[in-house]
Every structure is written in structure tokens, then in C-alpha cells.
Symmetry: C2
Subunit: 184 residues, 2 copies
């Protein structure tokens, strides 16, 4: 899909990897976003007449297309579906903010720990879905850095590992039953 083409609708990526990029006036190339499976993209096409960027498949990829005309009609006729789209966008936005904030953390061990905390469902156990390499990519680290970070955290007894499971070790300081933690 090319910059300036008429927008046909919104997409959902089922497999592969896409790169959204733009040619800048000075002739340079800027990557706007890398799309990974499970993501919707080009949502803005619903509100604009043409795409403002190129989309390149970095590998064989499969997408669903939500054709603009169908989708807008459906959204107009059925307010609930629009509501659903909106809440989906709000969720995505929240997710992006989380990922962004995670990247503000420079130290690899800290970043990994916060990542695990975000995924903590209360049990404190994170069962690595997929490989550590994938987790490294998601964290924006090289896999080597992730291995080292996990080793460091384990050495510091801040996490425990068995097999693919990662368990955060409690942080509570004076706890028998939890004292209010100095919150920054």
C-alpha cells in the first residue's frame, strides 16, 4: 500500500510482520510503526481519504480488511459497534502507553521486572507464553540482554525461575502484614 493512495479501510494482521513507513520531504525514510500479529492498524483511514504512509510486508503476511464503506455504514447504523470500536481503541492506546513507559526504563533488569509486574495476575507467576527471545523483542531488548537480566534478577533474589515460569519475589519490606510502602 502506498503513500497517497485512496484509503480502502482498516486492517487486522493475522500473521507476518508489516512495516509502516513514510518518505519524508528530504528523501529520507521514517518508520512509523511495526505491526505485529493480533494488531489492528490504519484505523485512521476511517477518518481520512488517503493513506499517509507506505505499508510494507517484511514477510509473508495475512490480513483481514474491514472495507471502509461497509464499516462506516455498519458503525453509523449500529451505535453499539461504534462504541465497541471506541473502547478497543482506548484499550490499544492504554497498551501503547504501557509499552512506552516501559521503554523509559533504561536498566534491563528493572525493565524486565516491571514487565513481569504488569503481567502479574495476582499469583506472581508469569508463565512465559512463547520463547524468551520473543519476550526480549517485546521488551525492546536483545535476547542476550534479557538472559543476563533474568540471571541478575535471580541472583538478587528478586525473581525465581523454574522451567518456563517466572515468579516475582515479594518486595514488601517490613511486612508481616504489609506496611504502606513509600510511594515515591
Amino acid at each position: 500500500m502506498r503513500q497517497g493512495e485512496k484509503s480502502v479501510g482498516m486492517f487486522f494482521l493475522t500473521s507476518g510482520r508489516l512495516r509502516m513507513q513514510r518518505v519524508t520531504p528530504d528523501g529520507g525514510m521514517v518508520t512509523l510503526h511495526v505491526v505485529r500479529p493480533g494488531e489492528t492498524f490504519a484505523e485512521a483511514s476511517l477518518f481520512a481519504d488517503s493513506y499517509q504512509c507506505d505499508i510494507i510486508a517484511e514477510s509473508d503476511a495475512a490480513v483481514w480488511l474491514y472495507p471502509k464503506v461497509d464499516l462506516t455504514r455498519r458503525l453509523r447504523e449500529n451505535p453499539d459497534s461504534l462504541w465497541e470500536l471506541t473502547s478497543g481503541l482506548a484499550r490499544s492506546l492504554h497498551g501503547m502507553r504501557l509499552r512506552y513507559e516501559l521503554k523509559q526504563i533504561r536498566s534491563a533488569p528493572e525493565r524486565v521486572l516491571q514487565y513481569l509486574r504488569l503481567r502479574d495476575d495476582g499469583t506472581g507467576v508469569y508463565h512465559a507464553s512463547g520463547t524468551l527471545k520473543e519476550m526480549a523483542t517485546e521488551l525492546g531488548l536483545t535476547h542476550e540482554a534479557l538472559y543476563r537480566a533474568l540471571a541478575t534478577l535471580e541472583r538478587q533474589k528478586r525473581i525465581r525461575r523454574n522451567g518456563g515460569d517466572l515468579q516475582i519475589m515479594s518486595n514488601r519490606r517490613n511486612d508481616p502484614f504489609q506496611t504502606p510502602d513509600s510511594a515515591d
Copy 2:
């Protein structure tokens, strides 16, 4: 505002700085998002009954509240306003993706250049609105790193500076008036 409290609505920050954070089950603290002036936040509160995080004012701050009940009523009665909210979210999402992608670039000079390219309106001139320090914050760099990056880019003749203006120097390959610069 505290984790678990009943959600009262969505906010818009006019001044100050807020930190959205969450206490994790292990007693640790995770920053979810730092809100800066001009941003809306807690959009998800429209779709949930309670806030899932604390919001702390890091300085004196002023916000507008869009009360949930009023807003939802208005959005239900007036589909156009819902449409507007949705497109706003899509735009915010796009903006976050840009910022995220920018952070993937590790080299400070490259990051700065891409940032300028994103802001290129075609003239190739970026008039620094605000200080360079603010720009550094937005780029996720220290101000020292930004000063050095700008100096480097200027030395490499990839940008030009006069006063507060930053101009990207052309990169075009087949430009008769320009030596082909190995781009990327």
C-alpha cells in the same frame, strides 16, 4: 485518585504533570503513564467501573473533568460526538505509535533526525517551539545528549541551524544539485 475507586470520568490536563501508577501484588510500583499538558487520560474509565491505577500530581496541576454520566449520555444521544471521540483516540494512538517507534532508535543523532523528519511540513525547517530541553524530554534524551546530537548532525552537514530553527539538509539521491548522500 486511587486504585479501585469508582471511576467518575475522563480527564484533560491543562497544566502540570501527572503520574499514573499501579501498585503490583508484590508490593512494587509501576508507572503506567506520565500525563503532560494537552493530553486526555483515563479514557478507559468510560468503559470500566473503577480506575485500575493511582493518579498522582507531580506538581500543581489543572484538569478538566468530563463526568462519565454526562459524557456517556451525550455520546449516546449524539453519534457525531462519539465519532469525534473515536477519531481523537485513533489520532492519539497513532501519535503514541510514532513516539514508540522513535524510541526504538538508539542512536541519539538518528533519533533526533527522524524526529525532525516527522515534523517536516515540506519546508524542511523546524522552528523549535519551546526550548531544546523540552524537545529533549519529548525525545526521551537528556538535554546534554540532545545538544551533542545536534552538534554532531550539524558537523555531518545533515542539518543546519540558525537561531532556534533547525533545517534538514536534503537527502535526495538523484538530485542534480545535491551530491548523493548515502541515505540509511
